[in-house]
Symmetry: C2
Subunit: 332 residues, 2 copies
């Protein structure tokens, strides 16, 4: 049996980048320490050692590797990206009042909201120290722009919640903020630190951007398709929380007056009764919005694959290609 | 009547730096905008246009001016410092569950904690974009280090709350985090961007550090001296909240077993009854800790004055000198 065909793409990436990942993990552990406040590494360890896939740092390592970089600053950039991601998770769980993440109690539940807010701030500051270590103004520009896009997307998501006038454009902006901005920054800085040419850097950005969008659209769709085991969420969680994701936005756009009243009651006013989720799914089926959403996820994954294939042949390039296929495979 | 003698030092600074401050305010307004999320400038404007003294940005402008800088990046650095300060205030008010700041309702009360957390994150990101605009890696290092020290100090303050084993060293670390780290970064980057020599940059750092510590010790002491009009706080607020500031730390260190039981009950367990504040004040008087705290504030102010006087003669230098006198004048 050929291991390459049975392993998942991110597992193959982790194997190809194993030595770099060891260095990234060591740097993360070193920089999450605090001379004075032991609460900081406690809270951070709870998240960064919870067995996440290190997908974002791997995107940076893979991009730098593809572009022939010999190090050492791709390690710093990969740790930067993981710190920004971890800080965002800490603050997200406070904002969403979440009690669970990856099947474990959240930091805000184990400690308190205060610790999550302040330790998140510490990790943001640490991430800026790490990127400053590279001495490369261009990667600082890319990553500080990404941090602003992430925060803007989170605020936009907050104000768009339960708002039926949310358009597909606003949804895309939220998705770029919550997911794609960090993916595309992760791949772009890998190319920049390696001194790659403009066309390659642009292709790496496009790959990360499209991969992140495909990933998030797929995640939002799975909330209705009901693969509970894969997502760790119950079917219809987003509906119950009044979140406007693509399947609903598309159904609202085509709603009859009577259907619109249903969406106003269930999403805008949040007054839901038994059977509402089934009615919502029926309306999504009626307008084919689940299929249309799947098509969009596939189209973004296809864009990601096309972008990465413009780079020179390399085993890691093919793993990134397969990764873009993998994030939507669970939909098909 | 000589205006220079009746105006307060920060008012004279504002007059001397008026043109630069106009530019800083314009840049702040430009950068607090958001293409997609109008909530961001709303929340930010509530704080940055609330009539604060712009003390921290003035420290940067004054330091750059003293060192002969012709611009333009001191404007960016001053705006950076104000954004970091504003982001910290937004997160502080969430952590402290504050309802008022500068006599007005806090953002977390007017909007919600979520908006305060996420808009704070946006302003942090914006501050890193602004400092990246300077293209100067050394100021990026100073400011990202300061951001880490600030967050670490906040976490330390959180874990030191109601903890009677808090030492004067830990108190100093908290004070550096919550106040002095941004003051010293503000003055240091002003010198660095102007290309000042090491001795001058070091003196500017020492000035900001000592000024910030004097300022915070004085603020904590005023909580017990009771100048309600000057502080906007009631006498003994810190005692009621179980905050370990210098007057209490010094009294706890010398406490008899019976007195220690009093501190355990009132601070550690937070069980306070009528007359406890008066008893706390009596114990502080008994050991002379209010006077000893005043002496420390004065000593730090004196260090700040000595540091700034090592710079070449300049009207702005003398205003900074007087500012260090002014922050402790309200104690004497």
């Amino acid at each position: 049996m050929d291991m390459a065909t049975t392993q998942k793409p991110h597992e193959r990436l982790a194997e190809a980048l194993a030595a770099d990942l060891v260095a990234v993990n060591a740097l993360i552990r070193e920089r999450m320490s605090s001379d004075h406040a032991p609460r900081i590494p406690e809270v951070t360890a709870h998240l960064v050692e919870a067995g996440g896939k290190r997908l974002r740092p791997m995107l940076t390592l893979a991009s730098a590797t593809l572009c022939g970089y010999g190090g050492p600053y791709h390690i710093h950039l990969a740790a930067t990206v993981e710190f920004i991601h971890t800080a965002t998770l800490l603050h997200d769980d406070v904002v969403d009042e979440s009690a669970q993440r990856r099947g474990r109690p959240t930091a805000n539940l184990l400690w308190d909201n205060k610790s999550s807010v302040l330790v998140g701030d510490y990790l943001f500051a640490r991430s800026f120290q790490l990127m400053t270590d590279t001495g490369n103004i261009r990667v600082l520009r890319i990553l500080s722009d990404a941090a602003a896009t992430i925060a803007e997307g989170e605020v936009l998501q907050l104000t768009a919640a339960r708002n039926l006038s949310t358009t597909e454009d606003i949804y895309l902006q939220v998705v770029r903020g919550k997911t794609a901005a960090l993916f595309s920054a992760a791949t772009e800085v890998g190319g920049v630190i390696a001194g790659a040419g403009d066309a390659q850097v642009r292709a790496l950005f496009d790959y990360g951007d499209a991969l992140g969008i495909a990933f998030q659209i797929a995640d939002d769709l799975l909330d209705y398709l009901g693969d509970t085991a894969a997502t760790g969420k119950n079917v219809g969680d987003d509906f119950r929380e009044g979140k406007l994701t693509l399947p609903i936005i598309k159904a609202v756009a085509q709603a009859t007056p009577e259907e619109r009243a249903f969406w106003v009651r269930t999403i805008e006013k949040g007054k839901q009764v038994e059977g509402d989720l089934e009615e919502a799914l029926r309306l999504m089926e009626k307008y084919g919005t689940l299929d249309a959403t799947r098509d969009e996820a596939n189209a973004w994954a296809e864009r990601a694959r096309a972008a990465i294939l413009t780079l020179p042949a390399h085993p890691v390039r093919d793993m990134l290609h397969d990764l873009a296929e993998y994030v939507v495979a669970r939909l098909n």
